[in-house]
Assembly symmetry: none
Homo-oligomer: 419 residues x 2
């Protein structure tokens, strides 16, 4: 099995607030083709330490990947230091500068002179194009080692690695492959999930199973090792099937999909439409739904009715109802869903009203009190939740609970129709 | 100034799902007493690599801290390898075993024999008690270097470090402290910011400045070293002031604030209100604004008018206007802002309509074409943008551009009123 080391470059990664996430993604990609990550380093804009780290890594491991430090400014030192570490020259590529000038012009700006620094490439290295940024990457064989230099921003690094590095690595990697699969579960706790499915996954010796709690859901991570992709996928398919059989509709995704993608799939397949009325989630549900490409086919309208006046004006929730029960109540949640559905003339509408905190709680309705409303052509109902966490988490969990409530209603309707 | 390296030990930290968070906490604690972290390493249960990493770190840096790998099982190798790396013996401490036996009995269990491994301590090392777990830590002077060995679980590591390591480090750390500050800049590129402010920050030898591009804005990170907090803060204040003077209103935050917090501050101070009409951002702007606690004082209502019908129904944008110019046009953006402001009776309204992709683009209006609309009591206007990136980035950048457009309009109005 080939070994790899990852070096993340950048002083900001040595501060208390920034962490290197690229290496997690790279590790996954490397593992998938049977390459093991043996060491990860984070080094700042420190020339001596970076050079030594690169030299050590190339001595110890088959593949060395650096991320970051390719920007145009003086503290971006990866380019010169990597050339130094392997004893090669940097060659100036005029065509890269031309390309950059054109791109800057397209963005309506002149290319600053210092961006010329990004046109220097290690002698003999393959240039890795960067459609999403100004820094090209490089890959170069150093004896029997493979040295890869990537930009830091994930949106530049990921497509570059997949298009221009992975194919080369696949050629030299060994026969064991690892395939991963994520199942997502809502409405059951971490230990209950584990108790229910441990007797199943423990019979699969070639699959590593881990169970993680993730903001609002349980993730069941499966990693299967096999001698071929087909074999690994077959094992995953079989194990995932048994887990779904055991946990039932609590499993909302069997292939890593997000809740909003699952909702989108249901609505697209059935040709139904949706509208959303939000108070404490402040637009988060609409934002999540419309983050899915193609949402315009089923998502018609969203209303963030933050003030009481907006609830009355836009959702036709009567002022008397708000006065009688409070804006955070089952009655108002239901009236919001009903009003939204009528306004937008959709098949479904969901609503959320609650107290996200940190202020606004009372003894009767503490921070975390949330009501979810639901309306379709034949019924209007609601659900009360007491959500733990800070403002961010309460909002997130409320959005997830509302989408899950909708999912369960849709499934219920489907199974009733099927009868 | 003393330098430190942190070595996280454990194969689980080299998987795609686990990340080392101890080092962030340790970095913060070390920075506070003026110790700079120069390098971080994650190494698995690999004897040769761990020994080499420890030796290298002790040669390069004043303080070396390892975390993890102190458990009782065979793959917990930190104890023997750290002794090897500094050429000392491990000494068996019977009293530690006795202590463990008592603790296990208190938990209602007999101590497993393998826990005896945790009673071996490096010759001459100070033993760091662990009230929250079975592994003691160690600290030992190696020549003029300081070597600290801590357990991995944060609830064991943190109290141990604070009670038994920090006091020793404070004595030798000397008087230097570090204070940090982040400025955020919109509407100028990374290289242009650097060109403009490099002549300023380069005159500050005690401040480390780094410039980062962050989705939609430029972050200027300042870290000032000084002999006292007051002095460090004074330097930061002075340098931040000069940077603002140079870059003008492009600097939207001088203390790490987010754009939505800055907007919230402006609106709270002036007592003005806001409503938002969104199409391609799908609720993201409302979500960001309401993520700020206290937003209900100024944020009244948001509309995600995804379909054309919703634009007409809710924002009073005429169907003829949409037919004449298209839903993605300056005219519709302005009508959306105007309609939203009138509907919600707010001081300001902003709107966004655009093509976030990946589909829906045309030659005339490619993916990334976005119009921002703005309305206040005296004017309605708009701005056209061509945003690069994928769906996620285009939506994010459109939301940021809309909030920044509002910010600049507010500043303009303020300066006109002041005249």
């Amino acid at each position: 099995m080939l070994s790899a080391e990852i070096i993340a470059v950048g002083s900001e990664l040595l501060t208390p607030t920034k962490t290197d996430t690229n290496s997690l993604w790279l590790t996954e990609k490397l593992n998938e083709i049977g390459i093991e990550v043996k060491l990860k380093t984070v080094v700042g804009d420190d020339r001596a330490r970076l050079e030594e780290t690169m030299r050590d890594a190339l001595r110890r491991s088959d593949i060395v990947i650096t991320t970051g430090g390719l920007g145009p400014t003086e503290d971006d030192i990866t380019r010169p230091i990597s050339a130094l570490a392997i004893g090669r020259e940097l060659i100036y590529h005029e065509e890269l500068v031309e390309d950059l000038r054109i791109r800057f012009r397209r963005w309506g700006r002149e290319m600053p002179e210092i961006n010329k620094r990004q046109a220097f490439v290690i002698e003999g290295a393959k240039i890795l194009p960067n459609p999403n940024g100004s820094a090209v990457g490089m890959s170069v064989a150093v004896g029997d080692k493979f040295f890869v230099i990537l930009p830091g921003p994930p949106r530049e690094l990921k497509p570059m690695f997949e298009a221009h590095v992975l194919p080369d690595l696949k050629k030299s990697a060994g026969k064991i492959v690892v395939r991963r699969r994520i199942l997502r579960v809502s409405g059951i706790g971490e230990s209950a999930v584990d108790e229910a499915i441990a007797p199943i996954y423990k019979t699969y010796g070639t699959v590593e199973t881990s169970i993680l709690f993730n903001r609002s859901e349980i993730e069941v991570n499966l990693a299967a090792k096999a001698e071929s992709e087909t074999e690994a996928e077959k094992t995953l398919e079989e194990l995932a099937g048994k887990i779904v059989e055991q946990l039932g509709i609590a499993v909302f995704a069997t292939n890593g999909e997000l809740m909003e993608e699952i909702i989108g799939k249901f609505l697209t397949e059935s040709g139904k439409t949706l509208a959303v009325a939000e108070s404490c989630t402040g637009g988060l549900i609409a934002e999540r739904l419309t983050d899915v490409s193609g949402a315009s086919a089923y998502f018609m309208e969203g209303a963030t009715t933050y003030s009481n006046e907006a609830k009355t004006r836009t959702l036709d929730v009567s002022g008397d109802l708000i006065k009688a029960h409070g804006a955070v109540s089952a009655e108002v949640a239901e009236a919001m869903a009903k009003g939204m559905r009528e306004r937008a003339a959709t098949d479904y509408a969901i609503s959320v009203t609650g107290i996200a905190g940190p202020n606004g709680g009372s003894e009767e309705k503490p921070v975390g009190t949330v009501f979810i409303g639901y309306a379709d052509e034949s019924c209007v109902k609601s659900l009360k939740l007491n959500l733990p966490g800070d403002r961010y988490l309460i909002r997130w969990r409320a959005s997830q609970a509302a989408l899950d409530y909708l999912r369960r209603q849709i499934l219920k309707t489907q199974s009733e129709t099927a009868k």
